[in-house]
C-alpha cells in the first residue's frame, strides 16, 4: 500500500513537472483512480502550475532599424509591383490590390482635379477686358494742363452743369465744331 502510494506521488510529481507524456496509459488510469479516491491529492495537483518553458522567459533581441527598413522595403515593393521579385512575397492579397491600385492613381487624379479647379477659377474670375461700361459724360472735370501742338489752338468749354469738353482747332482751321 505504501509502495503504491509512493508510486502515485511519483506519478503526481511527474505531472506537476509537466512530464505527462512520460506516463503510460495504465499509469494515467491508475493516477485518475487515485485522484478520485484522494481529494487532498487532487486539490494539491490542481494548485500546481506547470513550469514555464525556459525559452519563453528569455528576452529575445528586437529587430534592428536596418532589419525593419528591409522588411518595409519588401512590403512596399510587394505592394507596388505586380510582377518580378515583389510578386513572390504574396504580401498583397487579392482584396488589397484595388487599394494599392487606387493609391497609385491618386497622383494623376489629383493633377486632373487641380487642372479642372484652375480652369474653373480662371473662367469665373476672369472678365473680358473688352466689356467696357456705359458711356456717360463726367459732370465734374478739372483740367490741370493742356498742350496743343503743331500750331493748333484749343479751348475748354464748360457746361452749366459742370461738364466739360476740350476742343482743338488745327492749324489749317478746317473745323467749325463747337
Amino acid at each position: 500500500m505504501t509502495d503504491a502510494r509512493e508510486n502515485m506521488e511519483e506519478l503526481l510529481s511527474r505531472v506537476a513537472a509537466g512530464r505527462l507524456d512520460d506516463l503510460t496509459p495504465e499509469q494515467i488510469d491508475a493516477l485518475e483512480v487515485y485522484l478520485n479516491d484522494t481529494p487532498a491529492a487532487a486539490e494539491q495537483l490542481a494548485e500546481v502550475r506547470p513550469a514555464t518553458d525556459a525559452a519563453l522567459g528569455q528576452d529575445l533581441p528586437t529587430p534592428t532599424s536596418t532589419e525593419w527598413e528591409n522588411v518595409w522595403g519588401n512590403v512596399e515593393a510587394g505592394v507596388e509591383t505586380d510582377s518580378g521579385a515583389g510578386a513572390n512575397m504574396h504580401v498583397a492579397p487579392v482584396s488589397n490590390r484595388s487599394i494599392a491600385k487606387g493609391a497609385r492613381l491618386w497622383r494623376p487624379a489629383a493633377a486632373l482635379a487641380a487642372c479642372v479647379a484652375l480652369m474653373l477659377v480662371w473662367r469665373v474670375t476672369s472678365k473680358p477686358a473688352d466689356a467696357g461700361w456705359e458711356i456717360k459724360l463726367s459732370d465734374h472735370v478739372v483740367v490741370h494742363d493742356l498742350e496743343i501742338y503743331d500750331d493748333g489752338a484749343g479751348f475748354i468749354a464748360f457746361d452749366d452743369d459742370g461738364a466739360a469738353m476740350i476742343w482743338v482747332f488745327e492749324a489749317n482751321g478746317s473745323q467749325e465744331g463747337a
Binding site: 486632373l112 484652375l118 477686358a129 473688352d130 461700361w133 458711356i135 459724360l137 483740367v143 476742343w167
Partner: protein, 161 residues
C-alpha cells in the same frame, strides 16, 4: 509600370505649370487691374443725323456741345493699365490715344491723355492734357479732321476707373 510613372510625372508637371500660369496670370491681372481705361472714337458729321446706339446716352449732350448732327462710334477700346503705365488705343485714320492713369481719390480719377496721329513712319503729337474726372465717366476731346473727303471730325471720349 514605367509608363505609368512617366504619365504621373507628366501630369504633375502639367498641373504645376497650370498652377504657376494661373498664379502668374492672377498676379499680373491684379497688378494691371489697378485701373480700367475706356476710349471711344466718335465721328461727328453734319452729313446725317445718325447716332450710334452706344452713344444714345450722351447724344443730347453731344448735340448741345458740338455743332454736328450725327455721331457715329468708329471704335471702342477698353483695357487695363497700372498706375503710371500707358494704355495705347489705336483709333481710326491713324489716330491714337495714349491714356495714363495717374491717381485715384475716392470716386475721382486723374488721367494723362495724349492724342497722336500717324504721319508716315512717325507719330505726330497733337495734344496732351492732364485731367481729373469722375471715375467711370467720360471726357470728350475732339476737333481733328478724320479725312480729307469730308468735314467730319474726330471726338475722343476717354474714361478711367
Amino acid at each position: 509600370m514605367r509608363n505609368l510613372r512617366v504619365m504621373n510625372a507628366a501630369l504633375l508637371c502639367a498641373a504645376l505649370m497650370c498652377a504657376w500660369s494661373g498664379v502668374a496670370a492672377a498676379w499680373a491681372d491684379d497688378k494691371n487691374k489697378s485701373y480700367e481705361v475706356s476710349v471711344y472714337a466718335i465721328r461727328a458729321t453734319k452729313s446725317n443725323s445718325t447716332i450710334s446706339p452706344e452713344l444714345k446716352p450722351i447724344a443730347k449732350s453731344l448735340k448741345q456741345r458740338f455743332n454736328y448732327a450725327g455721331f457715329k462710334l468708329e471704335t471702342k477700346k477698353n483695357g487695363k493699365a497700372a498706375k503710371g503705365k500707358t494704355f495705347n488705343a489705336i483709333l481710326t485714320s491713324g489716330y491714337k490715344a495714349k491714356v495714363t492713369p495717374l491717381e485715384r481719390k475716392g470716386d475721382r480719377v486723374k488721367l494723362r491723355i495724349e492724342i497722336t496721329k500717324k504721319a508716315g513712319k512717325k507719330e505726330k503729337k497733337l495734344t496732351s492734357t492732364t485731367v481729373t474726372i469722375n471715375s467711370g465717366q467720360f471726357l470728350p476731346v475732339g476737333g481733328w479732321k478724320i479725312d480729307t473727303k469730308s468735314s467730319d471730325v474726330l471726338i475722343v471720349a476717354v474714361s478711367g476707373k
